[in-house]
Symmetry: C2
Subunit: 276 residues, 2 copies
């Protein structure tokens, strides 16, 4: 079964296109987990318990796991999410060349999908693309201010670079396993990219803490695919969900803290479902 | 002391611009290290012992360390290289946004320099650039075939994307700590980029196993900087040095195997020094 088929099933089962970003910033983990064996894993496990009913997908960002304990926490997290039937998209933004990028692609032995960076071109992504049953989300238009530095550059052919990246990703999509990362902070760009690639699912970050446009994220981020009963795509929130407990009535109480994360995931699901 | 000052001193002390790529592909590690506690670390330690006299720099590629044991092996490797007075450039090709890229930049707590990917723009690199005493090598023109997919795209302003990246990197270089990655497989492009940024040191991969042009790598890769007694830059070889033992007379003999790596590093140093 392909990643997008798995994802479509999950979206249907949960009635949700919410991707929950698992970015356990060590400086923001609650005090009461400070003495856990692997605090990031202890945190993620509780977040998964609290949110999985509303999660189409979990998206751990690799940056938060780049040390020996971190990779153990990540492995445990992926296995636990799978135990709850939730697919895992590793937000790694990787790409390298030749024998090296094959090493990076080994991350897909565990995760179901990954984000990759297109700057090094097709062969740098080939070992990812070759994994037919896995999803490969190519960075296209990112939601940060500096995203425009390169991505908006106008090409001699008239279109901005990010539109060319979308067109290239379509060419690279021989295994029908390519997605695109398109930020919600630029709604009109979401619409333009959707026009170029009608059937490619988007991962849309930037709806939570970054304040992006939820309606545009759903309208353009989800793809109407012939093989799926529901439109397929993901709208991600990380800090807005996992650290919602900081604003709860009793942030030092474990049940209250993680309950707030569950509530935040549910709220986002409902907010997005208005537009589906 | 800035990274480029440290590097200039090291180049002068060793009379070498060789960067030794530490890419311990698990499928190519010699049999006789199979039972070591951390085989990658055991391998790297012996490579460092054999090559450090000829190494201006070690360049571990993060892709080969992305698991719990791997990060331990990498930490040991960096500490050991520092014990031999050799700076370490982590070839990570990272970039992400906001709070996430700050996590990636923490890699510079250990390494002396890092490679980064420009596709997400300036703010994605800012936490790296802010580390004044560290080196930040921005991917510009890579040595793989697909490097042309995006990097050679002609902009409306007339130049290819990689030249714009070089110009942007120059703008981002407020702390005088920016380098560029420019492959040796396209010598004329090396010359063009050098013209745009006369004082920025290059990391030039692709001279070893990839068969790039050593003369062009030295002529254009090294920067004539007002603050340094020698021209500053790095020419990298990974597999051509670290796996030279596979072609030695006795690949199953530890001393012969690693002796071949030392010989290969020395040969590359001499070959490059013809053109310095």
């Amino acid at each position: 079964m392909s990643f997008f088929e798995t994802l479509a099933d999950r979206i249907e089962a949960t009635d949700s296109v919410v991707s929950v970003g698992l970015d356990p910033d060590p400086n923001r983990l609650p005090e009461f987990l400070a003495n856990a064996d692997l605090p990031r894993w202890a945190f993620n496990r509780r977040i998964i318990d609290a949110t999985h009913e509303h999660a189409a997908c979990y998206k751990p960002n690799a940056a938060f796991y780049e040390d020996a304990d971190g990779w153990r926490a990540l492995e445990e997290t992926i296995a636990y999410a799978h135990g709850k039937d939730v697919p895992v998209l590793l937000d790694a933004k990787r790409a390298d060349i030749g024998n090296t990028t094959r090493q990076y692609a080994a991350a897909l032995d565990r995760a179901d999908a990954i984000t990759v960076n297109p700057y090094l071109g097709r062969d740098s992504l080939q070992p990812f693309l070759d994994r037919e049953e896995k999803g490969v989300f190519v960075l296209c238009r990112t939601s940060n201010p500096g995203g425009s530095d390169l991505q908006d550059l106008e090409l001699a052919s008239g279109e901005p670079l990010y539109e060319r990246v979308a067109a290239l990703a379509d060419v690279w999509n021989g295994n029908d396993n390519v997605g695109l990362v398109v930020g919600a902070t630029a709604p009109e760009e979401l619409a333009e990219v959707r026009e170029i690639v009608p059937e490619i699912p988007f991962l849309v970050p930037g709806v939570g803490a970054q304040g992006g446009d939820a309606e545009a994220a759903v309208e353009h981020g989800l793809a109407d695919r012939p093989d799926a009963a529901v439109d397929v795509g993901l709208v991600n929130s990380s800090r807005g969900i996992i650290f919602a407990g900081e604003e709860s009535s009793r942030p030092d109480d474990e049940a209250t803290y993680f309950g707030a994360a569950g509530d935040a995931a549910k709220r986002l699901k409902k907010r997005l479902n208005q537009y589906r």
